[in-house]
Amino acid sequence: MRLSTANAPVAVLSTIPSDSHTWNLVYLHLLLEEHGFRVVNLGACTPIDDLVAAHLRHTPDLVVVSTVNGHGAVEGEQLVRRLRRHDHTTPVVIGGNLGVAGSADERHVPALLDAGYTGVFVGDRAVDDFRAHLHTLHARPHLAASPV
């Protein structure tokens, strides 16, 4: 929600098709900006087609999927499988509440990694872990131009 430099790395920020929550997206938008990203924030209930189109248009350095409505395990998996048809290398991470029973989220992690995510962030430490993950991305050459 602020201007970034033109050569800043780009993050596409999205949720799953059935998730209408957005405060998580507003927060992550600010957080990603603070870590030097230019953010394309797709907002609530993003159809997978819209995400794929944004991905092809913006060729982002990072895709972040945030979801809290309990359908993340199902739709998050469909989403990344679709994305991976077009792109095998870009980091794609997901986080939030993935199932209807909040505390059982851990059990969805292996399937989501299998499906193509490079990171899955759940539970009390999700945000801290995600911030740490952002720092590891900065160590990558093409992101080196944009430290916080």
Binding site: M1, S18, E34, H71, V100, S103
Partner: protein
């Protein structure tokens, strides 16, 4: 004024001095949903039933909802269209009645299928609106939502025994928090005018508890005054929502924020309250937790003084002044409320802070003052003035702080400024 089942129940109870309390509640299977409604009906409180729909149904993906049911996966609400009218009538049999009306809550920007399904199932009350269920909850073009909601209203207006169905505007709850009340009030009136234009005459206007009870009460009184001015020929009641944002985590804090919302509802002349539960900060509440919250709210409401008709001076109300300005500016754009709303968002004349919908200007910003009052820090192209002395830019940590304001206020009240008194803010 003729009233359908839902509005009659609410009006009769309000006349008798009883606040109607209502949960959020939706389960995947008809068996679970029936159990939940039976428990709400049996609660020691004046309750209305709620069918909250699941997220797949909300976005029209009924195949995914049905797939989850067939495979025994859970859903975060009741899949009304997948179950269909025949099953839903059986689910509601001997439950939904004149003394226990049931409202469908859905969150859909394009709800015509849901409207057909609920009417086919014999239900006659729902909620939402062309703006309030589009901008916060979807990427659907606003014009498409407006057109579909117009058709929905016209469908509602034709049903039943001539008494029509009931529609609640969700505009007073936009994004749940951080929106200064004047914009919520204005949007409620504008959606009410839209409903009326398309034939719905039995409606309710909502307002969600925010972070300062004095400011909230002023907003609710302004909403009532504006409803009388702009919708004089409609049957209107007000509905208050217990705070919808990050919820207090302590049982005492959760109880107190709920109690505060009850006091707001009674003092502001609301007829109905949508409660939250002590489990809200952690997970979807159980039926028992919902019943406990409803009964607690009923007890609190009974303790409040009977609402006296407060003298309300519009000239002294901050919410009234800004809301009236916004409503009139929007209505000046086009004689049709729907077209006026579309034009208002298209030009940034209306601008919901932090709302990510592609057609929202998203230039406006607000903040929470130390006393909980919500103030504009940036108003974009809205005809309003921002408060002075604030930086409009906001960091992620500060956002989290603001979102957690009520959590801090109610979980650790002794370390925070004293909870403001319940009197209209000036």
């Amino acid at each position: 004024m003729t009233r359908g089942r839902f509005a009659s129940y609410v009006a009769d109870n309000q006349a008798a001095g009883r606040l109607v309390v209502q949960p959020r509640m939706g389960f995947a299977t008809t068996e679970q949903m029936r159990g939940g409604l039976l428990a709400v009906r049996a609660a020691r409180a004046t309750t209305a039933g709620t069918l909250t729909l699941d997220s797949f149904t909300r976005v029209g993906d009924h195949a995914s909802a049905a797939r989850a049911l067939v495979h025994g996966h859970d859903l975060n609400g009741y899949p009304l269209v997948a179950h269909g009218a025949v099953m839903t009538r059986a689910m509601l049999e001997d439950i939904a009645a004149d003394d226990f009306p049931v409202q469908v809550r859905h969150g859909s920007a394009l709800p015509l299928g849901i409207f057909h399904a609920l009417l086919d199932a014999g239900l006659d009350a729902t909620e939402g609106g062309p703006v309030s269920y589009c901008l916060p909850y979807s990427r659907v073009p606003l014009r498409a939502a407006i057109d579909e909601w117009a058709a929905c209203c016209e469908l509602l207006a034709t049903v039943g025994d001539g008494r029509g169905a009931h529609l609640e505007s969700f505009a007073g709850c936009m994004l749940g928090q951080l929106c200064p009340p004047s914009l919520l009030v204005a949007l409620g009136i504008l959606e009410g005018l839209f409903f009326r234009r398309h034939g719905v005459r039995s409606l309710s206007l909502s307002f969600a508890q925010q972070t300062n009870p004095g400011q909230d009460l002023d907003a609710l009184l302004a909403l009532r005054h504006l409803a009388a001015e702009f919708l004089p020929d409609c049957d209107v009641h007000l509905v208050v929502y217990t705070f919808m944002g990050l919820f207090p985590r302590t049982p005492a804090g959760a109880a107190e924020i709920l109690a505060e919302s009850v006091r707001l509802a009674v003092a502001g002349g609301a007829a109905r309250l949508i409660v939250k539960t002590s489990a809200e900060a952690f997970r979807i509440p159980t039926v028992a937790e919902n019943v406990a919250a409803l009964e607690f709210a009923a007890t609190q409401a009974a303790r409040c003084a009977a609402p006296t008709r407060r003298s309300f001076d519009p000239a002294a109300s901050p919410a009234y002044a800004e809301a009236r300005l916004l409503v009139e500016a929007v209505l000046d754009l086009h004689p049709e409320p729907g077209a006026a709303l579309a034009a208002a968002f298209g030009t940034g004349l209306l601008d919901v802070p932090f709302c990510l919908h592609p057609e929202n200007a998203n230039q406006a910003r607000s903040r929470v003052e130390p006393d909980g009052t919500l103030r504009w820090t940036r108003t974009g192209r809205m005809p309003l003035r921002p408060a002075t002395g604030h930086a409009a830019d906001l960091g992620s940590a500060e956002l989290i702080d603001m979102l957690a304001f009520n959590q801090r206020r109610f979980d650790a009240p002794t370390t925070e400024p004293t909870t403001p008194a319940l009197s209209p803010a000036r």
